[in-house]
């Protein structure tokens, strides 16, 4: 174990579908006390809520079983505590399932805490949804879920109660990492500077592989060694919040000033005011120093008092999307793709479809016409058509018409792929903090 004045925290996942092997590697080989799995993107919880309502799943992270089976034995043996938002739309079921897995594996005495209370569907109707800075009204029956971004507090409470595994629903990502630091070092809720520094560490770790060279490599410009075996990061945090970010020797990837700076600025707006439920963190004066190979020291974050409101992620039904794609290659590929587009445009000219959109993949589908230079004819082009409709059957018209291009369209089309899916839109709202009451339920394996 590390010395008394530092706490080691590892990042075991940066999103719901993340790779599991690097987390196992961290648990097995790193000298960590906590392993944190961040698994909830904006829309993940809404999709989990929908599939729970439709009895398609219990509503927690679909990889919970696989992850827990992979890391529980080693974490139990090394007394590594696990913290995760894998509870998604049903933290209690996720906690119960974790206890069941522990028992199956013959691991007795693991205390698993489930945190509930982020679900604020019952009160959300009273608050305006924000869209583009202006209020928006959505028919209540279209709202599927509303979950408040909860801070570190309930996790700290669960850890104080002796939990070995803490499973939450919607929690602000950095709070998952800040909580064990508050717990271990007894940081005070008014010590904004230190909470800001802890939030910096959480923000750095929350995307796991994005700190060790994932989403960074650019051959010839930013080369990353052994990306295929990318290791996940962990932080060695001292009691006042100074931290060294590092990874296990021999794993792929790298930790440098550049990888840390990219991740610190990732998804933040004003670097001096990163708003979380715990603190308004200030990263503008952060100092990033390389202190060894794959060892970067981060210090100097600040903070101001947390806001009185909590952000709520509100998921609403937003119709269905029908999509189809088809490829053309060889001489005249572009002309044939354009002809196919014009045909589809005529055949899909129907009032049940809205927002009909076409893309020529390989030409300008990503950066748009203005920013995509044309250097001669592309050898192959893939036409993509997509539209929104109120019902699934109408949305299906798009993939059906794309497929029909095989026998009713230009020559040489191939490789049709299609899908029709429900679209769930996410809006934000702010609610007073005192409307959110979290409860912790603990069970022992």
């Amino acid at each position: 174990m590390g010395n008394m004045t530092t706490v080691q925290i590892g990042a075991g996942a940066g999103y719901s579908g993340d790779r599991i092997d690097p987390a196992v590697e961290l648990a097995r080989r790193a000298d960590i006390s906590y392993l944190v799995f961040e698994c909830l993107a904006e829309r993940t919880i809404a999709l989990a809520q929908l599939s729970r309502k439709n009895n398609l799943s219990p509503g927690y992270d679909p990889l919970l079983d696989e992850r827990m089976k992979a890391v529980l034995p080693i974490c139990h043996q090394k007394k590594i505590k696990i913290i995760s938002n894998m509870g998604a739309a049903n933290p209690m079921a996720a906690a119960a399932q974790t206890v069941a897995i522990a028992r199956q594996l013959g691991l007795n005495g693991i205390r698993v805490a489930g945190v509930v209370g982020d679900d604020v569907l019952g009160v959300i109707e009273k608050f305006p949804l924000e869209d583009n800075g202006s209020a928006l009204s959505i028919p209540p029956e279209q709202i599927i879920s509303a979950n408040a971004y909860v801070g570190a507090e309930p996790i700290v409470e669960a850890l104080a109660g002796g939990a070995d595994v803490v499973i939450t629903g919607r929690t602000a990502d950095p709070s998952l990492f800040l909580a064990p630091l508050i717990h271990e070092f007894r940081w005070l809720s008014n010590d904004c500077k230190t909470l800001g520094q802890g939030t910096l560490i959480g923000h750095l770790l929350e995307c796991a592989g994005q700190l060790t060279g994932g989403y960074f490599a650019d051959p010839g410009y930013k080369d990353v060694p052994n990306l295929a075996n990318l290791g996940f990061p962990y932080a060695e945090v001292s009691e006042h919040g100074g931290a060294v970010i590092t990874k296990i020797e021999g794993t792929g990837g790298m930790i440098t000033k550049a990888t840390c700076k990219e991740q610190i600025l990732y998804e933040i707006q004003d670097p001096a005011a990163y708003v979380t439920p715990d603190v308004v963190a200030d990263f503008s004066e952060v100092v990033v120093e390389e202190v060894g190979k794959n060892r970067v020291c981060v210090s100097g974050a600040g903070g101001r008092t947390r806001p009185d409101t909590l952000k709520v992620s509100v998921a609403c039904r937003n119709g269905y999307l029908g999509e189809g794609q088809i490829s053309y290659a060889g001489p005249g590929a572009l002309a044939r793709a354009r002809l196919a587009r014009d045909i589809l445009s005529e055949r899909l000219n129907h009032h049940v479809l809205s927002e009909l959109r076409f893309d020529l993949i390989g030409l300008n589908s990503i950066h748009g016409e203005k920013l995509s230079p044309m250097n001669g004819e592309p050898y192959e082009v893939r036409l993509r058509a997509i539209a929104r409709a109120e019902d699934r059957c109408s949305a299906d018209r798009v993939p059906r018409e794309v497929e029909a291009l095989y026998t009713n369209g230009p020559a040489g089309g191939g490789g049709v792929a299609s899908s029709t899916r429900e679209n769930i839109a996410i809006y934000a709202a702010l609610i007073p903090r005192d409307l959110v009451h979290c409860q912790i339920h603990c069970e022992v394996s």
Binding site: K261, I366, H367
Partner: protein, 99 residues
Amino acid sequence: MLLRDIAHSRTGDKGNLLTISLIAYHEEDYPLLETEVTAERVSSQFSDFIDRPVIRYCVPRFAALNFVLHRPSSESVTRSLALDAHGKCLGYALLNLEI
């Protein structure tokens, strides 16, 4: 030269906001970024994607700039029909700027 020769970038998203960082490889190039890559210039580069002017934050400690792009409400991650609904590929359109 292209911005890509002296700086790197990562794009993130929050609803209909896009954030694009621009970080100098060498600290001595930071003043050049600050002078050349103005909010106006970035707004004009991304005029097809945004519905209000780009906001720029300067982070001299990191030799970096951070841009916030405001997309129309139909173009949020969860609603957009674009192939890259997040807009995560856009950072490389910034690195493609000639300076």
